[in-house]
């Protein structure tokens, strides 16, 4: 399956937060490391609650962590 329309800056944000590991982020938001890997690689779109929890860890607004680009032009 291809990449999702939702992209994210988690890798960059982890780097700017003292090179936080995927495991550390996973523990802080209460998921497995594999889920963080899947989100980072745009293979899984997190729930709204998990997205907010990740943004909360980075102390950033949601749109700074996740962005949405529609693949099909609706017009």
């Amino acid at each position: 399956m291809g990449k999702l329309a939702i992209s994210n800056n988690i890798r960059k944000l982890r780097f700017y937060h003292n090179e936080m590991t995927q495991k550390e982020l996973a523990d802080k938001v209460g998921v497995t490391r594999q889920t963080i890997v899947a989100i980072e690689n745009a293979k899984y779109s997190p729930s709204l609650e998990l997205a907010f929890r990740i943004a909360f860890v980075f102390d950033s607004p949601l749109e700074e962590v996740f962005s949405y680009e529609p693949k099909d032009d609706p017009i």
Binding site: M1, G30, T32
Partner: protein, 151 residues
Amino acid sequence: MSFQEKNITVTLISFSLILIFYTTRVFQMAADGGLNSTDLFRLWGIVIVLSIIVTIIGMILTHIVSAIVIAIQTGDENPDIEDIKDERDELIDLKGTKITYTVTSLGSFFAMFTFVLGQSPLVMFALLVFFGLMAQVIGDVTRLVIYRRGF
């Protein structure tokens, strides 16, 4: 490979072996002079008990082997096994369960259809368990594929 994937792999192997055992036994019984209800229902019992025991032992073994592997890799005496089930695991499990139910429903329909076609009721009962085991195997394969591919 995550803990959940290991767990599913163990279940998949276990149920595949049970399916092979069941299919072989049913064909043997058919070749030895036809199915009879006593032998078939005994086989049902064996398969159900085997499924429960193998699932429990499989889960325990997965925990133990994971702990040993992590302990060897990290040198930690009390390894932290990541066996929590998060929202992604739940979603994948739901998709697998949906496939399992679909295959079970189609299999049940097919099994009952053989009854309509005038086959012995024992054929229907034999097929019900066959499709139940097959559905479990297909559901586990689906889960593993989704874990690897993403969604």
